[in-house]
């Protein structure tokens, strides 16, 4: 099948959806002529024009806030916040307005908004351009949080997100933009809230997200050589979260390791560990392990950043501890 990069897959999803539905528009900083700082909106301006591909000032509150108003009034905005780190200046519009409006209004409002943003370290962009903040938004009722790890998932999940009638935070890990994978040419959807088992195994369940999925798979390769069969589960959507797949996998393997790039404390892994401890307690043969970033901001120096990002090795040793 034809191969595309992660960024190209997202770009194709945007183009195909914009062709299908004229109420979809894209807005954000440098999404027009520039094609998005990471190239995801490349060619959109040329095809759809300035009315539908809107360069905004550096004005995150107004970017998300205007998306809320536009959605309430019948459009389907797909807005871009360049780095998830910048969402701090617009958080009110996302967590008090977009996320809650439908509920506060007793179910009347329909807010089909997609907020695309990037996360993750690995570019030496330091503490304000490298964070993984997904856990916060998973903690906010009313938002859906999508976090793909492959070009195939990226296209299908973005199309589903655009067609979803709820506000969706669509998180793209910077270090994944360049990876290639098979992507069908025609539009297709992947349901939100359905995890994907990226590798089957019987000894340990490793739940990993975004860039960590790939590290987990590498770790699984190495461990297979030592006769340890790792099952790698990629939730793909963090909210809603596909509990069943995770729990069923643990019921099979009896062991759980959770890997993410967000800091460990109160991170996505805490919730997943809690769910399993609550709902699959009797199936666990060993304590749950979390492999995550330490409780520090993201450092700049490549040496420090490497020490910060969870490594294949740390995943391997965590797995060995639980099978030990």
């Amino acid at each position: 099948m034809r191969k595309l990069t992660f960024a190209q897959a997202l770009n194709e999803a945007l183009k195909q959806e914009m062709r299908r539905d004229p109420t979809i528009y894209v807005a954000g900083e440098d999404v027009g002529k520039y094609g998005g700082i990471f190239g995801v909106t490349a060619g959109l301006l040329e095809e759809f024009g300035e009315e539908r591909v809107r360069d905004t000032p550096i004005t995150e509150s107004a970017i998300i806030g205007s998306a809320v108003g536009a959605a309430a009034a019948g459009l389907r905005p797909v807005v871009e916040i360049m780095f998830i780190d910048f969402i701090g200046v617009a958080l009110d519009q996302l967590f008090n307005q977009a996320a809650k409006m439908k509920y506060m209004f007793g179910g009347k409002a329909k807010l089909p908004i997609v907020v695309r943003t990037t996360c993750g370290a690995g570019m030496c962009a330091a503490a304000q351009h490298s964070q993984s903040l997904e856990a916060w938004f998973m903690h906010i009722p009313g938002l859906k949080v999508v976090a793909p790890s492959t070009p195939y998932d990226a296209k299908g999940l973005l199309i589903s997100s655009i067609r979803d009638d709820n506000p969706v935070l669509f998180i793209e890990h910077k270090m994944l933009y360049g990876i290639e994978g098979e992507v069908p040419e025609e539009p297709y959807t992947i349901p939100l809230g359905v995890a994907d088992i990226k590798r089957e195994g019987k000894d340990v369940t490793v739940v990993a997200t975004m860039a960590m999925v790939h590290k987990a798979l590498e770790a699984a390769e190495d461990l297979a050589k030592e006769g340890i069969e790792v099952e790698v589960v990629d939730p793909r959507t963090l909210s809603p979260l596909d509990k069943e797949t995770i729990i069923n996998s643990v019921k099979k393997t009896h062991r759980l390791v959770i890997v993410h790039e967000a800091v460990k404390q109160a991170g996505p892994g805490a919730e997943i560990a809690a769910i399993v401890a609550e709902e699959a307690f009797e199936y666990l043969d060993a304590p749950i392990k979390r492999v995550a970033a330490p409780f520090t901001p993201v450092p700049f120096s490549p040496v420090l950043e490497n020490a910060y990002i969870p490594s294949k090795e740390s995943i391997i040793s965590a797995v060995k501890e639980v099978v030990g």
Binding site: P57, A62, G69, N96, Y103
Partner: protein, 320 residues
């Protein structure tokens, strides 16, 4: 002046309705029948009414934590509003929103808002949609003097200006950001001055003179419908009651309040209409009786309505 009789009577009736509704809410709140916080609009009626008198049903408004007046002026249903204040199942938001979050999308009411300045970018977005969809709808965005210091004010006005969006930004300058007087929260006297910072027209009007508000809004709405972009209207007014019910109001001098009470928009307008012969004392009694009945009916409706089922708490978070 060129405003036809029906419109004038409509404005009078609406102002009185807001006043009667709010006074009843104050009474019910004091009696413990309405829970939570309520922020009353009493004293500012001329602003909401003067602006909304220029709007069509398919135009939009964004409102504030002090939103009852805007809702009534835009045609909100007293029964559903009151039921919401009581937290009843039959309320506008099925008891999930309360005073600060009432909305009626069919009437273009994009919601009251519990966050100061929260509605400004939302208004810009609704205007973007109106323009994008090729309609001539406009958006009236109400906010207070306090909100004019919020970042969202700056971002929304700048965006509306560069994108030439059909928004009327209506600043209800009641001179207090909760307890802080305007001269302590901004270094300019006229908020309308700030329009220059976005290259849009800014006008100051007497917010207690409904005719003045109407005329300023009329021009701004015409401008917006014609695709000529946003306008900032500053309405100088005063809230007769505290920031919220229960506010001791220790921060505001008695004399100041008394001065403003003399400028109460309703008696002023009433006198004008009498003098113009559009209204007779008999009409006034009749209109007020009718309004009283409507409000009573709303209260009855709210009282008789059932509370929501606890299980409903889990509904309406997501659209299925």
């Amino acid at each position: 002046m060129a405003i036809e009789k029906e419109k004038l009577l409509w404005m009078y009736e609406r102002m009185c309705t807001i006043r009667a509704f709010e006074e009843k809410v104050a009474e019910l709140f004091a009696a413990g029948k309405i829970p939570g916080f309520v922020h009353l609009y009493i004293g500012e009626e001329a602003v909401a009414v003067g602006v909304c008198a220029n709007l069509r049903d398919d135009d939009y408004i964004t409102s504030t934590h002090r939103g009852h007046g805007h809702l009534i002026a835009k045609g909100g249903d007293l029964k559903l509003m009151m039921a919401e204040l009581f937290g009843k199942k039959t309320g506008y938001c099925k008891g999930k929103g309360g005073s600060m979050h009432i909305a009626d999308l069919d009437l273009g009411i994009l919601g009251a808002n519990g966050i100061v300045g929260g509605g400004l970018p939302i208004a810009a977005g609704a205007a973007l949609a109106a323009k994008y969809l090729g309609t001539d709808r406009v958006v009236a965005c109400f906010f207070g003097d306090g909100a004019a210091n919020q970042g969202t004010f700056h971002e929304a006005l700048n965006m509306a200006s560069i994108w030439n969006l059909p928004v009327i930004f209506v600043c209800e300058n009641n001179h207090y950001a909760i307890s802080l007087h305007q001269h302590k929260h901004m270094h300019v006297t006229d908020i309308a001055e700030r329009a220059k910072a976005y290259d849009i027209p800014g006008v100051v009007v007497d917010g207690n003179d409904v005719i003045a508000v109407y005329e300023a809004a009329e021009a701004a709405v015409k401008r917006a419908r014609a695709g000529e972009g946003p306008t900032l209207i500053e309405c100088k007014t005063y809230r007769h009651r505290g920031h919220f019910e229960g506010d001791p109001m220790i921060y505001r001098p008695k004399e100041e309040a008394e001065e403003w009470m003399k400028k109460d928009p309703i008696p002023r307008f009433e006198a004008k209409l009498l003098e113009m012969g559009i209204l007779t004392p008999a009409d006034i009694t009749r209109i007020k009786e009718e309004i009283k009945a409507k409000v009573e009916e709303a209260v009855r409706f709210a009282e008789e309505s059932p509370y929501p089922e606890p299980a409903e708490v889990l509904q309406d978070v997501y659209t299925e």
